[in-house]
């Protein structure tokens, strides 16, 4: 009886194994997949993408892989990024696809789940590269997973965009064919802004989850803060922390003036901010890392505690977003993570079209040497080798916002230095009701002339070099603006932020009083300095609110 059972078992096992192996050997790779998305739009768009490829007879397919953790804690964010990638692919395909040498290529996205573990990552990337035969890969999120994938990517000569946080020491550990997003200039810009607007900061507390990316970036953070004269204390916490109160208490005992929130993950950063405010901390909290889902961050902090908080992110429904972001929002969803997915595809398309080749290694070389490329946020460039150690890190613009009563209000865009913006955006927002209150007091139509006139071309923001770039807040400055209204309209008083001294941090809010049809002066008052700015008030095409295009500016002296 025993022998019979064993042999039956053995035969059963053999049959099962053989059938499975044969099915593995025989089955051909599946067509483009989209993960189970809660909104039906990407799924519908995916099937549409499949159809368009059948329509264009001469079109070939360009296979692009997307590897992300689709199960696990990060899966909501990754779902949105993939929706962004698929949305971009659909948009490109609808316009005919990518053209290389007269040949049109329709994009097919293949997605794979790396499960957030290195072995899952190896599975996913091996499948994408050797089974689905993708040429380009977008993804992962976790550097540990990416490092495991690096070996496969190197050997297979496939180009990758890593969309997780940049890790300075590990770029080459990923693979020689991986690009990632840097953005160190954004740290400088944000820190400059903070230190300027909160001049009494002496001690900054940096927050760092115990995690490879954060620790590597932490060193850079400390260095940059110390360069600006701050004393830095650092707090480390386990990634699973939800209750930050004990560690915050420990931090507060050392009397910090500001919090540098670290890695840009909504849950950690918001948890720290909210719980710190509850424990009585009133200093500014900021993070220069792109948050991904800024709205979630704002929601978690809440109305009551959402003040003096600064982030790299945008309110996708608020003023200041670019046309490109608006278009993305309409296609995929109003989430700045979707934009991330779009951004990568956008850059990839530009690189391929510039290289006029679909060979990943050629495209990789082209992109490494491109002097600039467009993104939904503005014009970007390849970061310098001096800063990043290689020419595969991209510096792209970011939206810089703050929270006011829990609402995301954009301050400006931060642009990488050394590249001209083809489409720089000047933010138009109503005057905030706090610190610049002095400025919004009764307008004063006094004008005074200045010295040498400095003019700026139409449509661009004014950059006037003051001989004393410095602190304009709460000082009395008289600004006289000569404006010509384009057409008759009535609108609420707008304000224009004019960048003085180059870059941000020295914004000057000008309030337009007495709107309507007028060609008069628009002034507001700051003591001691004068600036004459000539501009043209027009109607903003997106929001219908008034915007001012500065057409001319004259420099003034300090009184």
């Amino acid at each position: 009886m025993r022998a019979k059972q064993a042999s039956r078992l053995g035969t059963l096992v053999m049959v099962v194994l053989i059938v499975s192996l044969l099915s593995m050997l025989g089955c051909s790779s599946k067509a483009a997949l989209t993960p189970a998305a809660s909104s039906s739009e990407p799924a519908a768009a995916a099937s549409q993408a499949g159809n368009t490829s059948a329509q264009s007879t001469a079109a070939q397919t360009l296979k692009i892989g997307a590897v992300y953790p689709m199960t696990g804690v990060e899966s909501s964010d990754t779902k949105d990024i993939i929706a962004g990638i698929q949305g971009a692919a659909d948009a490109i395909n609808e316009e005919g696809g990518i053209s290389v040498g007269g040949q049109k290529y329709q994009i097919e996205i293949y997605s794979a789940d790396d499960m957030g573990t290195p072995s899952g990552g190896v599975s996913a990337i091996t499948r994408l590269v050797y089974d689905d035969n993708v040429k380009f890969v977008i993804g992962g999120f976790d550097p540990d997973v990416n490092m495991a994938m690096g070996k496969v990517l190197n050997e297979a000569k496939v180009m990758q965009f890593f969309t997780g946080a940049y890790v300075p020491d590990f770029v080459d550990s990923f693979s020689q064919n991986t690009f990632s997003f840097g953005g160190f200039f954004a740290m400088d810009d944000m820190y400059d802004y903070i230190f300027k607007n909160y001049p009494n900061i002496k001690t900054v507390c940096t927050w760092c989850p115990d995690q490879i990316t954060a620790r590597a970036n932490g060193k850079m953070v400390i260095q940059k803060l110390e360069e600006r004269g701050a004393t830095v204390i650092s707090e480390y916490y386990p990634s699973s922390t939800q209750d930050f109160s004990p560690i915050i208490s420990q931090a507060l005992a050392q009397k910090p003036d500001a919090f540098e929130l670290g890695p840009g993950v909504a849950f950690w950063d918001a948890g720290i901010t909210k719980q710190a405010r509850q424990l009585g901390f009133t200093g500014p909290c900021f993070t220069p890392r792109a948050l991904g889902n800024s709205q979630l961050f704002a929601n978690l902090i809440g109305k009551e505690y959402g003040n003096d908080v600064y982030l790299m992110g945008a309110n996708m429904s608020g003023p200041g977003i670019t046309d490109a972001m608006q278009a993305i929002g309409e296609r995929t969803g109003k989430n700045d993570i979707h934009v991330m997915g779009f951004e990568v595809m956008d850059i990839l398309q530009q690189a391929i079209e510039k290289a006029q080749s679909v060979d990943p290694m050629v495209v990789k070389d082209t992109l490494s040497n491109m002097s600039s490329f467009e993104t939904p946020y503005g014009t970007g460039k390849i970061g310098d080798t001096a800063t990043y150690g290689c020419n595969r890190v991209l510096d792209t613009p970011f939206p810089f916002s703050k929270l006011e009563n829990g609402e995301i209000k954009m301050i400006s865009y931060v642009y990488p230095p050394g590249v001209t913006q083809t489409n720089q955006v000047t933010i138009v927002t109503p005057i905030p009701s706090q610190s610049t209150a002095a400025a919004s007091a009764a307008p004063n139509t006094a004008t005074s002339t200045g010295t040498a006139a400095e003019s700026a071309p139409a449509g661009s923001p004014i950059e006037i070099a003051w001989d004393k770039a410095g602190d304009y807040m709460e000082k009395d400055i008289v600004v006289s603006i000569t404006a010509q209204v384009a057409d008759a309209m009535s609108f609420a008083p707008p304000a224009v932020i004019v960048f003085l001294g180059g870059g941000m941090g020295s914004g000057l809010a000008v309030s337009v009083q007495n709107p309507g049809i007028f060609t008069g002066n628009i002034v507001t008052e700051w003591k001691g300095k004068t600036l004459t700015v000539t501009g043209k008030v027009t109607k903003d095409p997106m929001f219908g609110s008034p915007t001012m295009e500065i057409t001319q500016a004259s420099q003034v002296t300090v009184k």
Binding site: Y237, S245, P246, Q250, A253, L279, N299
Partner: protein
């Protein structure tokens, strides 16, 4: 330094309050029903999500949502017990592995339904109260108060009501209890309902303090089991003491060292206790009832 210690104690007590809710629910289920309800953490998570749906999505009042979610999840627990645990009552191995399957099932079900998103669940309470130079946010204080009320309620239930006495009897000796005419099935259902309701409240409260995600159950389970072991299985006062000890340990060690060190200390202590004094605190005092 002194204020760090007192703030640490305050934080620790608040955490303890919430942990005790979870542990109490688990203790009820464990000691009365004898099943290792490893999926208790997922019940806690479901309670959080249910309250979120009722409060943020449907728009009910916060406290009503918490109460309602406790009732709903409690009923769900009864159903789960009937389907997944009752058939395997005597068989420890099968019951435990069934619980593991439940963990995966509930986690992935929630993840698929919610899209895996971690969600923000906001409490309507705001503001901070300052007592003796210690700052405690109102929302945390309310959580602790709710916890205390519930623990007292459970105490009273067991000591004063018939069903409570029946539960005690069943936990001590199931067969004798059924000989005395106690419906063991009813007692089991009640115990499961209570245990799951408590966990649901804990999940809702934690969700409102921090955030909700489909995987929050794991750490809650670990804390719950640690407390029960420390306090001694089957002893409710032991559970409370165990919760206080662990909460305070974490609250005090973290500000002075780090959170991970606190975790190591807690886990290390539990392992040592299990090796040398498996009956826990109540065992040391001699009060523990049936073990395991």
């Amino acid at each position: 330094m002194e204020s760090l210690l007192t703030q640490g104690i305050a934080n620790g007590l608040v955490s303890a309050g919430i942990y005790i809710l979870v542990a109490l629910g688990l203790a009820l289920v464990l000691s009365i029903m004898g099943i290792v309800q490893l999926a208790h953490g997922e019940i806690y998570m479901l309670g959080g999500y249910a309250a979120y749906c009722l409060c943020n999505v449907i728009g009910l009042n916060f406290f009503v949502s918490v109460l309602l979610s406790a009732l709903l999840v409690g009923c769900l627990g009864v159903v789960i017990e009937k389907i997944f645990f009752r058939p395997y009552r005597g068989q420890f191995d099968r019951g435990m592995i069934m619980a593991m399957g439940l963990i995966l099932l509930l986690q992935s079900a929630v993840q698929i339904i919610t899209g895996g998103a971690s969600v923000a669940f906001t409490s309507p309470l705001s503001g901070v109260v300052t007592v003796l130079n210690i700052k405690i946010p109102w929302e945390r204080l309310v959580c602790v108060l709710i916890g205390i009320i519930l623990v007292a309620a459970v105490f009273l239930l067991i000591a004063k009501t018939r069903i409570g006495q029946a539960m005690l009897a069943v936990s001590q000796d199931r067969e004798v209890a059924s000989l005395q005419g106690i419906s063991v099935d009813n007692v089991y259902s009640t115990a499961m309902f209570l245990g799951c309701a408590l966990a649901a409240v804990a999940g809702a409260l934690v969700g409102s303090l921090y955030n909700l995600n489909p995987f929050m159950g794991g750490s809650a389970l670990m804390e719950g089991i640690a407390i029960i072991i420390l306090g001694g299985l089957g002893s409710i006062p032991g559970t409370i003491i165990g919760g206080l000890v662990i909460g305070l340990l974490e609250g005090i060690i973290t500000p002075f060292a780090s959170a991970s060190v606190a975790g190591l200390v807690v886990f290390g202590t539990i392992i040592l206790i299990m090796i040398f004094r498996p009956r826990g605190i109540s065992g040391m005092i001699g009060k523990g009832s049936k073990v395991g």
